[in-house]
């Protein structure tokens, strides 16, 4: 192990300029990836705050006994998708309407009987705030005998879904493209390293070094370059984010966990690039 690390360090010392160059190039390609990541993070956050308001409202028939409702509320709260059920009584509905709809205040003021029905306002847990789950919950609510009607913003729940899909697809495509770029760059630098050391490799083989032993320094080199490239990309992303934040709009940055995953992903790309390259080029020396 010691020797492997020494060999890796040697590889960097032998070609410092080339190493720095490849790390920077990987850094920049991962940076582009990071920018899209930042956009994705912010879109996801925006979607999340909208999605928080996804609510299924079940209007209740007048005169339903309160005990029935209490039992049903407990049942509904036990749905796996459901985060919270709020029972809004007729009086509460009216008070809310008076508060929220100030233009119609007069009308609500003069009412003799309350025209507004009571309702269960059902909020879903974050992973279930999409069209399919919302519709499913609505269907199950409709099945209760005391439920008159179920409403949810079907339209915009579906739009939200589509927005998520598009963001996901664009993100995956861009991510895959730049991951490929990083793999190719690492593969190329490892290829040069293999060719540069072809004599050494030939002699290693001759004296009985195992294939694993011959490969390991190159794999470690790829891993280290990928990790360093990931750190460069993280630094560039942080810089870009700071600029945007100052000049344009408030946005959020990666969480520490996301940043760590990004850097580790850089390392894994480096490992993949060198593994592919080393396998192919060792055979030819």
């Amino acid at each position: 192990m010691n020797l492997v690390l020494r060999e890796t360090a040697l590889a960097f010392r032998r070609a410092p300029l080339l190493s720095a160059l490849s790390i920077t190039t990987i850094g920049f390609s991962l940076f582009v990836f990071g920018l899209f990541g930042l956009v994705a993070v912010n879109i996801e956050r925006a979607i999340g705050s909208v999605a928080e308001r996804v609510e299924v409202v079940a209007y209740l028939k007048r005169g339903t006994p309160i005990e029935t409702l209490a039992l049903a509320q407990a049942d509904i709260e036990a749905f796996p998708e459901v985060a919270r059920v709020e029972h809004v009584t007729e009086a509460q509905a009216l008070a809310r309407a008076r508060r929220d709809l100030t233009e119609f205040q007069d009308i609500f003021q003069d009412l003799e009987v309350n025209p507004l029905p009571a309702s269960f306002d059902v909020r879903l847990k974050p992973p279930f705030r999409d069209a399919a789950h919302v519709a499913e919950v609505a269907r199950r609510l409709q099945a209760f005998a005391f439920v008159d009607d179920v409403r949810y913003g079907q339209d915009w729940v579906e739009k939200l879904d589509r927005l998520r899909d598009i963001a996901g697809a664009v993100g995956s495509a861009v991510g895959a493209a730049f991951a490929l770029v990083a793999i190719i760059i690492i593969g190329t630098t490892i290829r040069m390293a293999v060719l540069q050391r072809s004599r050494e490799i030939a002699i290693m083989r001759l004296v009985g070094a195992t294939d694993t032993f011959i490969r390991l320094p190159f794999l470690v080199e790829g891993l280290v370059k990928g990790l360093l490239g990931g750190l460069v990309a993280l630094g560039l992303s942080a810089g870009a984010w700071a600029l945007v934040n100052q000049a344009l709009l408030r946005s959020s940055f990666f969480t520490p966990a996301q940043a760590a995953i990004g850097v580790v992903a850089g390392g894994l790309l480096g490992l993949a690039g060198s593994a592919l390259s080393v396998g192919r080029h060792l055979r030819s020396v």
């Binding site: 004599r199 002699i203 290693m204 001759l206 004296v207 009985g208 070094a209 195992t210 294939d211 032993f213």
Partner: protein
């Protein structure tokens, strides 16, 4: 210890480099493989250290049946062999000492044992005083001594030498030949490919195998009853 049985190595373009060759080199022997250029000497050696595989027949080396050997087992075989070439194959950016130590490092020897073992073999080949010099600072004969030291440092059962004196003048050639005989005298088998007939004649007690166009045309021990030996 090394046994060829009906070994053929066909190359698609150039034809058979070795044709139905059978011979047996025993433990501790000094053996020559001779023949004109293109006779198949290097091919025979390459089959022994598994840089190449026979198209037909069987090569047994030190108890390993090489035909059925997985690629992953080749290093285990090579660690029991010492290999020396005409062009030395030293690493230019390492000193004599480092070139020899390289073998031990890459085969996972314990670090503390490396220094003493390297010095022991460098002393054996007469280069203890030049351990710190780079290949470019050594004569051809001295470089070949470094290569031999490197081949010896893992205590091989046989030293394979492919025209080890091919690039050397007469004086250096005699020195290297003497060194190989000394190594053989201390128990290591030596198998040397050469077309230097003077050298062959100077050691009449050696096992001599002559190749011509890939066929064994003479084997000084060929008629002796083939005795099976334990590896």
């Amino acid at each position: 210890m090394i046994k060829f049985t009906g070994v053929t190595r066909d190359y698609p373009k150039t034809g058979a480099a070795l044709k139905n060759a059978s011979f047996h080199i025993k433990k501790g022997e000094f053996a020559f493989i001779t023949g004109h250029s293109g006779a198949g000497k290097s091919t025979a050696l390459r089959l022994i250290y598994l840089a190449d595989r026979p198209t037909e027949g069987e090569v047994r080396v030190s108890g390993f049946a090489t035909a059925r050997m997985a690629a992953g087992d080749i290093p285990r075989l090579r660690r029991r062999l010492g290999i020396v070439f005409q062009d030395f194959q030293l690493l230019e950016d390492r000193t004599a000492e480092e070139n020899v130590a390289f073998t031990l490092e890459v085969t996972g020897a314990r670090r503390t044992t490396i220094g003493p073992r390297v010095m022991r073999v460098l002393t054996q080949v007469g280069l203890a005083g030049k351990a710190g010099q780079y290949p470019r600072e050594l004569s051809g004969g001295e470089q070949q001594r470094v290569a031999i030291a490197r081949a010896l440092v893992n205590d091989p059962v046989v030293l394979l030498a492919d025209e080890p004196t091919g690039n050397l003048d007469e004086r250096a050639t005699r020195g290297i030949f003497q060194l190989l005989r000394d190594i053989n005298a201390s128990g290591t088998a030596v198998l040397m490919a050469t077309h230097d007939l003077d050298m062959v004649r100077s050691l009449p007690s050696a096992h001599l195998i002559e190749l011509q166009g890939g066929e064994v045309v003479y084997d000084s021990e060929g008629d002796a009853p083939a005795m099976e030996e334990t590896p």
